[in-house]
Every structure is written in structure tokens, then in C-alpha cells.
């Protein structure tokens, strides 16, 4: 048992925005730690800018690296379903992270955040903390299924309240785009009471736009995913940033660790682990603060 070498493939989207950057960092960090702790585990990490490349990466891992296990965060659910199913059929251990496959029961292990909760928790906060008749604007991410899930849940949570969503445009989880969109919102709407930026990278752009327009006192902003700078500001009791909603990029670490344990311990690791979205408040912010992470 000692000498037997195991190869684990890790396939994730490349670091094209802040959250993914954090996720990439956690993946590499965990691989390094695990590699040191378990010398007979070898890792193969690949990052893909789109679904097609990710499928290729998984094919390559199967054809040339002879992997025993696969940890995959699907770029998109639909296109990755069949290729990951093929890996499972080949008798490999499969861990799916964050975005579920479009068919149940393929993976051995599922570790995910909860996009619906992510939207809902934010929505509930808005509902509870805004006067009836308040006006808010929303910045959406890159058009994807998971963005749809989040926004739908957010809207659903607000249903029946008197809070009015003035506008929803795509900021593409990008600081610059969010900055531009927010500037234009500020020109367009004389009255905005709160902003749901849905992602902390976008929140950074939004905050800059607001302070450039000198309307800091008028509205607050809720981002998401717990970027360290934002968490720090919540910790410090910033009025503009009352809360945040977690969607920890570190979930990839848990997935990799559990996969390693599956091979290293005798207990088979299977099941579904949903890491719920929590509200970060000034009170609990300390426990969500990772100063080391790039995100």
C-alpha cells in the first residue's frame, strides 16, 4: 500500500476573474501541501479558458497521465457531463466541485457552494434592511447558468417587497466593467439606495464609481464571495459595506483534500457536501478573513 502511486487530476477554469483567481490559488496551495504530506500522490493540474479546452484537458489526463482520480470544477455543466461520465465509467474516482453535472449520480463526491442561497441570502438582507419603496441596482456577472441562478434567487427573495430593482446590467465579474456600468447607473438614476454587486471584484469597481460621484452616503453595496479586502472593511465597520455573502473559493481545497483522503485512508469518501452561503457581518467577519490568499 505504501509504494503504490496514485495520480489525481485537477481540472479547473483559468483565473479570468477574481473569484477564479482565488480558486486557482487555493487549488495550487492545496496541491503543494498535499504533495508534501503524501509523497506517493501525484497531482496533475490544468486550467482551461473554456469548456472545450477543459474537455481536452480531461481527455489528455486520461490518455497520457493515467489518472486514478479527477477533481473537476466544470466550466459549464452541460458540456462536461458526458466527458466526466466517461472518466467515471473508466473506473476512476470523480469529485465534482461547485457546478453540478447535468445528470445525477455520476460523481463519487460532490463539493459545492450554493448559488441559490448566495442570491437568496443577499436578497433577504436587502428585503430586511431597506425601507419599502427603496430603489436598488444590480450588476450581473458573465452571462452563465450560475449567474442566472443567483439572480433568480435574489429576485425571488425580493418578491412581494416594495423594493424596486431599477436596472440589471452585466459587469462580467470584472472591476473595470463594473466601474463603467456603475458610473452610468449613477448618471441615469438620481436615487439609488443600495447596490447588489454580486461579486467582490465588481464591488470594488462599484465603490470607486460611487466615491468618484461623491454619493457614498446615499447607498450601500453588497458584494459576494468574501474577498479579503472587502472582508477587512466589513471587519472595520465600513458603513458602505454592511455585509457580504460567502461563496468561498476555498471549497476546491476541501474537494482536493477529501479526494486525497479517499485514496490514503480506508474510508471511501462519497456523498454531497454543500457549503452554504453565509452572511458575513462585522461581528463574524474575523473568521472569513484569509490575508494570505490573493483573493
Amino acid at each position: 500500500q505504501e509504494a503504490e502511486k496514485k495520480v489525481i487530476g485537477v481540472s479547473i477554469p483559468s483565473a479570468t476573474h477574481g473569484f477564479m483567481g482565488g480558486l486557482n490559488w487555493h487549488a495550487q496551495d492545496t496541491i503543494k501541501r498535499m504533495g508534501e504530506a503524501y509523497p506517493n500522490i501525484e497531482f496533475v493540474l490544468s486550467t482551461a479558458p473554456d469548456a472545450a479546452k477543459q474537455v481536452s484537458d480531461i481527455e489528455d489526463m486520461m490518455a497520457t497521465r493515467n489518472i486514478d482520480g479527477l477533481v473537476v470544477l466544470p466550466f459549464e455543466s452541460e458540456p462536461l457531463t458526458a466527458p466526466v461520465a466517461a472518466v467515471r465509467e473508466a473506473g476512476k474516482f470523480v469529485t465534482v466541485v461547485d457546478r453540478g453535472l447535468s445528470q445525477e449520480g455520476i460523481e463519487n463526491l460532490y463539493v459545492a457552494g450554493d448559488n441559490t442561497a448566495f442570491g437568496r441570502v443577499a436578497g433577504q438582507y436587502f428585503r430586511e434592511h431597506l425601507e419599502p419603496g427603496s430603489k436598488i441596482v444590480v450588476l450581473r456577472g458573465i452571462p452563465t447558468t450560475l449567474d442566472n441562478e443567483r439572480v433568480d434567487a435574489f429576485q425571488k427573495a425580493l418578491e412581494g417587497s416594495e423594493v424596486e430593482i431599477l436596472d440589471m446590467q452585466h459587469g462580467n465579474w470584472n472591476r473595470d466593467d463594473a466601474f463603467t456600468v456603475m458610473q452610468d447607473y449613477l448618471s441615469k438614476y438620481p436615487e439609488i439606495d443600495a447596490v447588489w454587486a454580486a461579486d467582490d471584484d465588481m464591488a470594488v469597481g462599484v465603490l470607486e464609481a460611487i466615491s468618484a460621484a461623491n454619493r457614498q452616503d446615499e447607498m450601500w453595496v453588497v458584494g459576494g464571495a468574501g474577498m479579503k479586502e472587502i472582508v477587512k472593511r466589513i471587519m472595520d465597520g465600513d458603513k458602505q459595506l454592511p455585509v457580504n455573502v460567502t461563496y468561498p473559493p476555498a471549497l476546491i481545497s476541501s474537494a482536493i483534500e477529501m479526494t486525497v483522503l479517499n485514496f490514503m485512508s480506508n474510508a471511501p469518501m462519497t456523498g454531497r457536501f454543500i457549503i452554504g452561503s453565509q452572511l458575513i457581518t462585522p461581528e463574524n467577519a474575523q473568521q472569513f478573513y484569509y490575508p494570505e490568499s490573493p483573493f
Binding site: 486557482n24 486550467t47 469548456a51 472545450a52 481536452s56 489528455d60 497521465r65 452541460e78
Partner: protein, 323 residues
């Protein structure tokens, strides 16, 4: 053969060097499984790049192919899902999807070509515009998410990508056929000769009774057709399409064409060079997956260096006696 000088051999040398490098890095590199993978996934960009070779040789350019592929894949999926209830889960439905992709490709190519040749707008601008349009349309059709083929159809359709004759899967066969026909067309057909003449000097072409507009339009139609064909093979691979399908394919296709020795300013087309260029690009990706590098963040840098090196190998040797 006088044509086999360094300039022409350059890309092949680069390709061979990559193959050797791959074989040294990993013993399974030359296993049939890996070869099938690399060739099959080159097929999409490959077929598109063959079409792009004609467009560029005639002095044109098409930035819209990646979005066009995404749009066509989306259309085909919608069409198949829509006729599924009436036609049923059978090859009829899939043929309808294929027809939609190919017809759509022809229409999209016609739109590009007509705006360029009839409205006389720079190809760069027209296709930059249609690139945005196709991309938006597919995102809109998918409502920001993913368009997916019904599960049963997907199972039926899957062998079109994964099946074949032994390890030679259908995409490889299709790519090979397209490449050979393309090479023959460029080198031995009247159309190819006209395309080269137009790219070389369109006034001379006009004075030689060549219908310059029509031939140019045909190159865009051909490219549209090939994008449609690529889509037909792409859909069974992933069974879905979204706003992020085919992003940057246009750059990859154009890069393959130029790495292959076709001049960006037009006039000389080398279809086989394009094929070599496409293989070089996919091998780079494959090789990066074979070995563990310092950091995956640097993949793009290594890719960049290899692309430039591949072209350095074939750079035109300066005519010794001319200053």
C-alpha cells in the same frame, strides 16, 4: 522540387520538433489514444482554418468565425430540440440539426461576404461587427445560460464525434477530407487560382475578366460552410452551446493560417501549411498537459513563445542581392 526550401519547411520542422518533444516528455504521447484526441480536437479549428486560408489568400479576413460557430451550434440545438417531439429521437432529427448548422453557416458567410463585397466595407469591421452580433444572439437564445441538446439525442449523436473507423474518428476523417479537398482546390482548381490572383492584385484580376466580387463572396461562403461543418462535429462533443463557446477561435484559426505560411496580405495560400499550423497549435496545448510546468499561469507565455519560434523558422530569407 524547388518549392521545398526552408521557408516552406519551417512549419514542418516546428511540428516535428514538437512531436519529438512530446514523445520525450511522456511515453504515452505517441499512443493512438492521444493521437486520436489531438487530431479530433484539431478538427474544428482545422476546418475553419482551411476556409480562413481562402479568405485571407483573397485579401480578406474573418473575425466572426468563433462566434459564428457558437451561434450555429445554438441554432442547431434549438432546431433539434424543437423537432424532437414531431420527428422523434432518431437520425432524422439529427440530420435536420446538421442541415440547420450548414445552411446557417452558408447564410452567415453570405452576410459577411455581401457586406464586404457589395457594401464595400472593410472585412475587419464587418466581421468585428458580426462577431459581436453572433455572440450576442447565442447568449440571448440561451438566455445567458447554456443551450443543451436533449439527453436522448445527445446519446444518439455522440458517435459522430467519438466514433469512427478504429482510432480514426469521424472528425479526423472529416478534417482530412476538408484539408485534401482544400489543398486541391487552392492549388489545382480555377477557383483557387482566382483567389490567389485577387489577393495578389485585384485590379489585374478584374482586367482578366475575373468576377472579383463573386470570388471573394465565395470565399466567405466557403468559410461559412466549413464553420457549419465544424459545428456539426462540435455539437456531439459537448452537446451544448453557450455564450462562451468558440471564444477566440478566430484568433487561433488566423494564427494557424499565418504560421502555415499564408501571407496575411493575401496572394499566396498554403492549405497544407494551415493544417500544419493547426496541429502545431493543438500540440502545444497537449504538450503543456503532458508535463508539469512551473505554474499553469505561464501556459500562455509558453504558447506565445512557441508560436513566434515556429514562424521564426520560416521567416523569408532576405534576397541576398537586393538591398
Amino acid at each position: 522540387m524547388k518549392r521545398l526550401d526552408l521557408h516552406t519547411l519551417g512549419p514542418i520542422v516546428a511540428l516535428v520538433a514538437l512531436v519529438i518533444l512530446g514523445a520525450l516528455l511522456n511515453s504515452s504521447f505517441l499512443a493512438p489514444g492521444n493521437i486520436t484526441n489531438v487530431l479530433a480536437r484539431s478538427a474544428f479549428i482545422g476546418m475553419i482554418a482551411v476556409g480562413m486560408t481562402f479568405v485571407i489568400t483573397a485579401g480578406g479576413l474573418d473575425l466572426s468565425v468563433g462566434s459564428m460557430a457558437a451561434f450555429l451550434a445554438g441554432l442547431a440545438i434549438i432546431a433539434m430540440n424543437a423537432v424532437l417531439p414531431s420527428v422523434g429521437e432518431n437520425w432524422g432529427t439529427i440530420l435536420i440539426g446538421m442541415g440547420v448548422a450548414i445552411l446557417g453557416g452558408l447564410i452567415a458567410g453570405y452576410v459577411n461576404g455581401a457586406l464586404i463585397t457589395k457594401a464595400k466595407i472593410e472585412p475587419f469591421i464587418v466581421t468585428l461587427g458580426t462577431m459581436g452580433i453572433f455572440r450576442s444572439l447565442v447568449t440571448w437564445l440561451a438566455d445567458g445560460g447554456t443551450l443543451s441538446l436533449e439527453y436522448g439525442l445527445r446519446t444518439l449523436y455522440r458517435p459522430v464525434y467519438y466514433g469512427g473507423i478504429g482510432w480514426i474518428t469521424w472528425p479526423i476523417i472529416a478534417f482530412a477530407v476538408v484539408a485534401i479537398v482544400g489543398e486541391l482546390m487552392m492549388r489545382h482548381s480555377r477557383f483557387g487560382r482566382h483567389v490567389e490572383a485577387i489577393g495578389s492584385n485585384d485590379r489585374v484580376a478584374k482586367y482578366s475578366a475575373i468576377d472579383v466580387g463573386r470570388v471573394k463572396l465565395m470565399t466567405y461562403l466557403l468559410l461559412g460552410l466549413l464553420v457549419g461543418l465544424a459545428t456539426v462535429l462540435y455539437v456531439p462533443r459537448l452537446g451544448s452551446a453557450s455564450g462562451s463557446t468558440g471564444v477566440l477561435w478566430e484568433l487561433e484559426a488566423i494564427a494557424a493560417v499565418i504560421i502555415g505560411g499564408t501571407a496575411l496580405k493575401g496572394g499566396t495560400g498554403r492549405v497544407w501549411g494551415t493544417v500544419v499550423g493547426v496541429l502545431i497549435l493543438s500540440l502545444i496545448d497537449n504538450i503543456l498537459n503532458l508535463a508539469d510546468l512551473v505554474s499553469p499561469y505561464l501556459n500562455g507565455a509558453i504558447q506565445g513563445v512557441i508560436i513566434v519560434l515556429a514562424v521564426v523558422l520560416q521567416r523569408e530569407k532576405r534576397t541576398a542581392d537586393e538591398r
